[in-house]
Symmetry: C2
DNA sequence: TTGTACGCGTTATCAC
DNA sequence: GTGATAACGCGTACAA
């Protein structure tokens, strides 16, 4: 008994996938004829076509896409690599990519790096080793020169959210700087002069961008920034002289709100956050935020990637996704005088 | 000039990937020797090995994993199909799968169905056509008999969150029923007798499970449920006789809170939600919720899947992920008398 | 130690 | 219309 192609189970083979060859034998035709029928190519008599189709149904044949793609040289798959695909924003971004990918009949590989450059490299290289047609990367803080040879070898690559280091490639960024600028200008328009920035690790890209936007707005209003305003912590917030604070992340906004509530100053310090909350409109006063649609980033990235796969040439492009201010009340708390 | 393998660009080939054959030619050895070096197999002189390695570096060779996997018959990849990978819970679930997959050196394909059975089928079949080793599916409301032949053909399959219809396969579910029961019991313990259920479409699995849990708790307390309590809408909530309400989703909880706030009854009706919020502890009174870790579901699913890939046999298993009650105050609003 | 021949499942070429 | 036969890039048995 030949078990090499799977184990028998009643009348069916378990673990065995019929191939075109099997179908050809069964239908009494040549391999190529089966291929023609499967691919809807012309040049097959209706009679033989139905014979082949019957054999296909009988055997439960399904074309091995891997083999086909090996032959054709494309994989019809792209990869998305990010810090953490469990993060809600990243997931939404991923979804944006997927929507565009589907329109192109492309499948999507996904992988998380946890901000570890080694893991990014391992992931990226195992994807290019599978010859994905394209790669979308939310890069780790490291550098990405290991990708240069891959890109040169033909793997189209787009970076998102953070710009690549030592690589020239299409990139989609978020206008964090403009968003922060708008938020802080909003606070200034409501009379605030002493405005804090609670932003996180300035070694990272986003906090740096946000701080620049903050500085832009302050400078435009002719306000001089005290160092202590930009090195706030949530704990020190209530005791600080600032009458308003711009928070660089959901976590920072949440801690700011909690710290103010604990100090009973919730309605005395205006809080604006970067990143929206599900209940931001419910809390009192409604939390004003600057936000953007991560799906836009994904769609934009895919919009850059797929034309490249279709042969579009030209220098690396850079797209910026806008942010928008959602005023909900917290930003309108007037400055005390 | 031969352009068949890519276009020249200075001294490098663009779009051309060197193969083992190219490396072999360059190093002046046989194909198999290259294969041995690449795979770290014994039986190669250090001298030839270094010659080969030099050729590899010169050419920038990287093994074509697709070809290798075609040969070995495995893809070292699994797929995850869900309603919407942009959804935060689904993304967290996905992340749980990925973490286990990485331990097994497996890559992950992901795809969203938007609850469309056709799309689920198309996605699942294009994944099995690529011969993914395994499939984890958060099934659409339809039936999934199209998968039977795929499973029989050797694609290990695990269902998550919702049970499959017409398919016998490993499944990981969430104990929504137990969670709802615990939540409603919590309300009853605080003196509530007229408790509402705001749960959504009872044609769907989760709302049905939650309603059963609700009914369990009410029955255990000997309380008779009025039909109007279980057919609430957020709009009618404030005007209804219920003194507490169990909400079946974040969206329902949010609308309930908003409706109560609009009617000025926030602190008169106890609200418990299914699914946690980032700011649930910040709002007053803190929102009590029943929740679970979607990552647990993913890890459990992967924990069922990978042993199957390693040949584990046996009947389909069913795992249940527990929920837990996070009491934050809203649930403790005492029943008015 | 190294190489040859063949197969994985498909598509592509070019006969018949 | 149909069918051998060669390729895609790699692994494996077996021979040299």
């Amino acid at each position: 008994m030949n078990l090499s192609r799977g184990m028998r189970n009643g009348s069916h083979l378990v673990g065995a996938r019929p191939t075109m060859k099997d179908v050809a034998t069964r239908a009494g035709v040549a391999l190529k004829t089966v291929s023609r029928v499967v691919n809807g190519e012309p040049g097959v008599t209706p009679a033989t076509a139905t014979r082949v189709r019957h054999a296909i149904d009988d055997l439960g044949f399904r074309r091995n896409e891997s083999a086909r793609l090996l032959r054709t040289g494309r994989t019809s798959a792209v990869g998305f690599i990010a810090d953490d695909l469990g993060d809600a924003d990243t997931a939404a971004l991923c979804r944006g990519i997927e929507d565009v990918a589907r329109e192109h009949d492309m499948l999507l590989f996904t992988g998380s790096t946890d901000s570890n450059p080694d893991r990014e490299q391992r992931l990226a290289l195992s994807l290019t080793a599978r010859r994905v047609d394209g790669l979308i990367i939310l890069p780790t803080p490291g550098e990405h020169s290991y990708l240069v040879s891959e890109i040169k070898a033909g793997t189209a690559t787009v970076f998102v959210v953070r710009p690549p280091v030592l690589v020239d490639a299409d990139t989609v960024l978020v206008d964090e700087r403009g968003g922060a600028r708008e938020a802080v200008a909003h606070l200034i328009a409501h009379g605030h002069r002493q405005i804090g920035f609670l932003g996180g690790d300035l070694g990272r890209y986003r906090p740096r961008q946000l701080l620049q936007g903050y500085a832009d707005a302050m400078a435009e209003a002719g306000l001089v920034v005290d160092d202590s305003w930009t090195t706030l912590t949530a704990q020190r917030l209530a005791g600080s002289p600032v009458t308003a604070v711009f928070c660089g992340s959901r976590q920072h906004a949440a801690s700011a709100l909690r710290a103010l509530a604990a100090a009973g100053r919730t309605d005395r310090v205006a809080v604006i956050g970067f990143g929206d909350f599900e209940l931001a409109d419910y809390i009192r006063p409604g939390l004003t935020v600057v936000t953007y649609d991560p799906g836009d980033v994904g769609r934009a990235a895919a919009g850059l990637l797929f034309p490249r796969l279709e042969g579009e040439d030209g220098p690396a492009r850079r797209v910026q996704v806008p942010t928008r201010l959602i005023a909900r009340g917290s930003g309108e708390i007037p400055a005390p005088r």
